[in-house]
């Protein structure tokens, strides 16, 4: 075993120099460009890279609507890990990945991305990504107030359930945080359960939060 591992390690080392020299000039130029571009948004008082303020400028420059799903969509496409922040590494990787070099180029991609969301599976991935992106770092769950805002953003008018569900959480305050299971089950819930809740069975595998929601709806006769 040990010799093998050594071989692979050397392989790795030789691989990199091999690829880099080929595109040396373009990559170097691009890297330089990306870095300069990054600096334009970064908050130089901290070493966090781009902070919420810079993020806002970046999104506006891209033509994204801050009050819409766009901000999450962009974050998802750029594989960002923490809401409102872009680290230098994330930036460099994202730019290289999409091979964009100007704001305009980015601007032209946004409508394409938005169109993709019509696909349920794409939306589903975005939705599931949102949980990890928006939850408090280092914790397992998301603050319920953030979740409420996000559901508004993500679903807008996509689904009749959401405003009622949001109302339920706001009024009754059954939970302080939303956990991953509740978050991801909500998507299944609105997909499979009709708005009038017909056929909803609280003995099935829905998280208890949804049982409470159904009960609340029934009680209030909504």
């Amino acid at each position: 075993m040990p010799p093998k591992r050594k071989a692979s390690m050397t392989n790795n080392k030789t691989k990199k120099p091999k690829t880099i020299p080929k595109k040396k000039s373009t990559v170097a130029v691009a890297t330089h460009l990306y870095e300069e571009w990054f600096q334009g948004y970064a908050d130089n008082d901290t070493d966090l890279g781009i902070t919420p303020e810079g993020m806002q400028r970046f999104l506006t420059d891209m033509g994204a609507n801050l009050e819409s799903i766009d901000s999450i969509l962009v974050a998802w496409k750029l594989s960002l890990g923490r809401m409102g922040y872009i680290s230098k590494q994330e930036w460099m990787e994202a730019m290289e990945n999409w091979n964009v070099q100007s704001t305009d180029q980015f601007k032209s991609m946004l409508p394409i991305w938005q169109a993709e969301l019509a696909n349920d599976e794409v939306f589903r991935q975005l939705y599931l990504y949102t949980f990890a992106y928006a939850k408090t770092t280092g914790q397992k769950s998301m603050d319920v107030d953030i979740a409420l805002v996000l559901w508004d953003l993500l679903f807008e008018t996509r689904c009749a359930h959401i405003p009622k569900f949001v109302e339920f959480i706001r009024d009754v305050r059954p939970v302080k945080v939303i956990n991953k299971d509740q978050w991801s089950s909500l998507l299944d819930f609105i997909k499979t359960i009709p708005y009038n809740l017909e056929g909803y069975d609280s003995t099935l595998s829905w998280p208890v939060l949804f049982d409470d929601y159904a009960h609340w709806r029934k009680q209030k006769d909504l």
């Binding site: 769950s141 299971d181 609280s202 003995t203 049982d211």
Partner: protein
């Protein structure tokens, strides 16, 4: 040829007769004819043995019979085939007359029937007979006639009479028919005949009969109930409606009994004894009924069990919670096992304990019973109020039998700790005797395993008074010597002491105060001075206010101490020793528990049960998922319920909550793409 002529004569002769006369004639001729045939058969034995046998063996013709058979064949061919209509009509008429209550000559029918059986000749093997003739010519018409007869009769009777009367009628009719078969019919008819009678007499009226069930139950007519059971048991599924009404009747009776207690006691707490006895009396009444009227049939036992399970767990007293019954049952046990003037005799007690187990069997929340029982057992043991070790042991072994070793292991260990402590006390006393400085304090202790006893550590600090601290230290050393590494926690809140008064000049005899350890801590201070402020007492005893104030309160109330100035509970309130203390009794118990304490304790116990259940359910889920790896939601819920049933009945929403928790803790996860499926996260 002679035979044919003879038979033709008989036939012609027979046409003159009808009914009974015909039968008499027929039988007479039959007897004569067969007797003659047997004689001839014997005469021609040789032919039978050789010629007939050869002919048959060579299979040349199939109308060769031995002589006796030949005569029968002829009888059948030349007589029977002509007269059977009349003969059978006559037989049936005769039977109908008997059914109508007339007496008839049964011998006639018997021999006619016998002749029919004898005529059943096997075409292929002449030596064997079958019942073809009997079945075709007699049984068929007979059964049909029976059906018509009883149909008419039963419909008429039931419309004119009550259900119990009808049942009596049907019962006698069925017995009559069984008798009839035995008397003069061939036994092969029994099955068909009885089943037809059952259909006509019972099945066709099953609904009406069952409808009468409720009334009989209400009136407790055991005989009629038994009759109904016997009749309906004859037909398939006939008992089902009875079982259903029985179940609901018993349930109502149980609920009613409990409700009556609720009304008597108004808002006051329900007395465990009346409650349990009410449950038991309902159970006993209907258990007896099942045994006597329903022959202890399994279906009825099941209905009884179901009904009892219902009213034991869900009734007026329990209201919404199923945990009230086990609590009351445990309290009832406590009153039985506690020292008291009203304690029953030993063998009587055993009976009562057995009946407790009957109720226990129906209790769903066995874990609640366990909790309360162990709390009260602990109290009995620690306070030394248990009436008998044997009875305690016997009750525990009963519980063990019902619920398994695990259920009682802690209770068992509590008893063991008691006897170990007793031994240790003796040892310790021996050790003390070797020491010179004889102490004037009697000391005994109980060393109890923290894991098995439902006791909690004291909630207050306590500085041990100088008078006893020596003993305390000595025992600590003694115990550490014996079991090094074990830690002793002193549960002062459960301990007690007796103090003798020497300060009262007015009395010749001195009083003995039975006090709690905390009260002892307070009173012993008065050996040094006769007056303290609350603050001083607090700093000397190191007791928290929640422990100090109630202890003082009782001492004030009993006038052992006097509150001389300030408000009780005030830091500067001053407490003086009462030198004029007087009481009729010499021993005075000052170690009294507060009523409110009990209530708090009950609530707390219920709360801990809730907690325990959550853990039990989570543990069950993890255990199941660990073995199954993947499992559907519904299957998992069912499995959890089955696994925990012996302890309590988990509710689906509660299980779901536990699943939520385990999903969050990542013990399990939802299987990819299947939201009603979970998989175990290793």
């Amino acid at each position: 040829m002679y035979l044919e002529n003879h038979l033709r004569n008989i036939r012609q002769e027979s046409e003159k007769y009808m009914d009974e006369d015909l039968l008499q004639y027929y039988t007479k001729q039959w007897v004569r004819y067969t007797t003659a045939a047997r004689v001839i058969n014997n005469v021609f034995m040789y032919i039978n043995r050789y010629w007939v046998k050869r002919e048959i063996d060579e299979d040349k013709k199939n109308d060769i019979y031995d002589i006796f058979t030949l005569t029968l064949v002829n009888w059948k061919r030349h007589l029977f085939s002509y007269v059977h209509h009349n003969v059978i009509a006559a037989v049936l008429k005769l039977i109908e007359r008997q059914r109508n209550g007339e007496s008839i000559e049964t011998g006639l029918i018997k021999s006619v029937v016998e002749s029919f059986v004898a005529l059943g000749l096997d075409q292929n093997d002449a030596t064997k007979s079958n019942f073809a003739v009997y079945q075709e010519y007699f049984e068929g018409p007979f059964i049909a006639a029976t059906e018509v007869y009883y149909k008419t009769e039963s419909e008429k009777f039931i419309s004119e009479n009550s259900v119990p009367d009808y049942m009596k009628k049907a019962e006698t009719r069925l017995a009559e028919e069984e008798n009839r078969v035995e008397m003069y019919l061939h036994e092969s008819t029994a099955k068909t005949l009885i089943s037809v009678c059952e259909t006509v007499l019972v099945k066709n009226h099953a609904e009406v009969i069952s409808d009468g069930f409720q009334q009989l139950l209400n009136l407790d007519k055991q005989d009629d109930l038994h009759r109904m059971y016997c009749l309906l048991a004859r037909i398939p599924d006939g008992l089902d409606p009875m079982r259903v009404s029985f179940e609901s009747h018993v349930r109502k009776a149980g609920l009613g009994a409990v409700e009556r207690i609720g009304q008597q006691e108004k808002d006051a707490a329900v007395d465990p004894k009346t409650y349990v006895e009410a449950l038991l009396s309902v159970h006993k009444q209907y258990n007896d009924l099942v045994q006597s009227a329903f022959s202890g049939e399994a279906g009825f036992v099941a209905s009884l069990d179901k009904a009892c399970g219902e009213f034991v767990n869900r009734n007026k007293v329990c209201r919404t919670s199923t945990s009230k019954s086990p609590e009351l049952l445990a309290r009832f046990c406590d009153t039985l096992l506690k020292k008291s003037a009203k304690n029953p005799e030993e063998n009587e007690l055993e009976d009562v304990l057995n009946s407790v187990m009957t109720v226990f069997k129906y209790v769903e929340d066995k874990d609640v019973f366990q909790k309360f029982y162990s709390k009260m057992l602990a109290k009995r043991l620690v306070n030394g109020t248990s009436a008998s070790d044997d009875a305690e042991g016997s009750m525990i072994s009963k519980l063990k039998e019902a619920c398994g070793f695990e259920y009682t292991s802690k209770l068992q260990r509590m008893l063991t700790d008691m006897s170990l402590s007793k031994e240790m006390n003796d040892n310790f006393k021996e050790v003390l005797q070797h020491h010179e400085d004889t102490n004037h304090v009697d000391f005994s202790m109980l060393v109890l395993g923290a894991g098995s006893w439902p006791l909690s550590a004291p909630s207050t600090s306590f500085s041990i008074p100088d008078d006893v601290v020596k003993m305390y230290d000595r025992f600590q050393k003694f115990y550490q010597n014996k079991h090094s590494g074990r830690k002793l926690n002193w549960l002062f809140q459960l301990s007690k002491a007796e103090l003798k008064t020497h300060y009262l000049k007015g009395n010749k005899t001195s009083y003995t105060f039975q006090v709690s350890t905390y009260q002892m801590g307070i009173l012993l201070q008065y050996n040094n001075a006769t007056s303290y402020t609350l603050k001083e007492l607090q700093s000397r005893t190191d007791l928290a206010a929640e422990a100090l104030n109630p202890a003082l309160g009782i001492l004030i109330k009993a006038r052992v101490l006097l509150l001389v100035n300030g408000q009780a509970g005030d830091d500067n309130a001053r407490y003086d020793l009462n030198f004029d203390f007087k009481n009729k009794k010499i021993r005075i118990n000052l170690n009294l528990a507060m009523k409110t304490e009990q209530k708090v304790e009950t609530d707390e116990t219920h709360k801990t049960i809730e907690e325990d259940r959550k853990y039990l359910m989570q543990a069950a889920i993890v255990r199941i998922m660990k073995t199954r790896k993947v499992m559907k939601h519904i299957a998992l819920i069912e499995e959890v319920i089955t696994q925990l049933q012996s302890r309590f009945k988990p509710k689906v929403p509660d299980i779901k909550k536990c699943i939520d928790i385990l999903l969050e803790k990542e013990f399990i996860e939802r299987a990819e793409g299947q939201k009603d499926m979970y998989s175990y996260v290793a």
